[in-house]
């Protein structure tokens, strides 16, 4: 075994151990970060927003205050990917149905057709509690702007920023508006890992409350 092979194996071992350590500790904060002049680090966070929900009630950052939440982007008439993602969202919802600190938010990217009445009907058909899972609509430009904020961490290909809406990603946001995890909502195994991340974040919250 030559020196370069040994070095490579050492680096590989270090990375493997580091990854294991990361998975055991608290979830990382995802997205761009910036070090300010005073040395503090500013992480990517979700800006303020103002939309309406399936009951025509305002839906703003206040609506998820002190909660962690899972976000997806969908539209009701989507015939292929969205139904797969909705099934996975339902899985996540069912698993954490008793966790009062977790909410779900589905933004419609087709506000022209997905009226509040249609969203309310969609929620009824899913059979979910709309206090826990909100279906949200608003101005199209505002929805796409907020989508950029949610998906800035998840877009691998900067040349195709518009691909997000059909990527089927689920995003996990913490109480400080930071993105902590995301997954491919069409892939059940990816969602399994995502649910473990939700569990870790909930435990993190509970530890913080005890302090």
């Amino acid at each position: 075994m030559n020196l370069s092979t040994l070095s490579f194996l050492s680096v590989l071992m270090f990375l493997t151990l580091s990854c294991d350590e990361t998975r055991k500790g608290s979830l990382p904060i995802l997205g761009n970060k910036e070090t300010l002049k005073d040395g503090t680090v500013k992480y990517h966070s979700i800006p303020s927003f103002s939309f309406i929900d399936q009951d025509s009630m305002p839906f703003t950052e206040k609506s998820v205050e002190n909660h962690i939440y899972v976000v997806d982007f969908f539209f009701i008439s989507c015939p292929s990917i969205c139904p797969m993602v909705s099934r996975q969202m339902l899985r996540v919802y069912d698993r954490f149905i008793k966790e009062n600190q977790l909410k779900f938010v589905s933004f419609s990217i087709d506000p022209k057709r997905d009226t509040v009445e249609r969203l309310a009907n969609y929620a009824r058909n899913l059979g979910v509690n709309t206090q826990k899972w909100k279906f949200v609509t608003g101005e199209k430009a505002a929805i796409f702007d907020i989508a950029k904020a949610y998906f800035s961490i998840a877009i691998e290909n900067a040349e195709a920023p518009g691909g997000f809406d059909h990527s089927g990603r689920l995003i996990l946001v913490d109480t400080k508006k930071h993105i902590r995890s995301f997954c491919d909502g069409t892939d059940p195994s990816s969602v399994d890992v995502f649910m473990e991340d939700i569990q870790r974040l909930l435990e993190e919250m509970k530890k913080d409350e005890k302090k």
Binding site: S77, S80, K140, F144, P161, G162, F164, H166
Partner: protein
């Protein structure tokens, strides 16, 4: 549905380009009248392409539902018609995107 699945991921890209073009038209007074007209026409075309796709998806009836009211021959005829419609939408979407991307580059528009 295969044709739809090929073209559908581009719908988000269309929306972002449309919004970027509209923003440019509203905020940049330095562009020439000719550029303004070209940008406006291209934004309209992107919007039209996206709307065609959204309307098609909204109106499309899955074969399982059609079975309640139509026989096999009628279902096949319906699906063949839909294949023609979605193929035209695909052509329009791809052509509109190609033109829009070129214009975006020419006018140095940021999304």
């Amino acid at each position: 549905m295969t044709i739809h699945d090929e073209i559908m991921p581009k719908t988000g890209e269309i929306s972002y380009l449309y919004l970027a073009f509209r923003k440019k038209l509203e905020t940049d007074s330095s562009i020439s009248m000719a550029q303004r007209e070209e940008l406006s026409a291209q934004a309209d075309d992107l919007e039209k392409a996206e709307e065609e796709m959204m309307v098609w998806m909204n109106d499309y009836i899955i074969p399982q539902t059609l079975r309640d009211t139509k026989n096999s021959e009628e279902i096949i005829a319906y699906l063949q018609d839909q294949k023609i419609v979605i193929s035209k939408i695909k052509e329009h979407t791809e052509a509109s995107l190609e033109k829009a991307k070129k214009l975006k580059k020419d006018l140095s528009i940021n999304e």
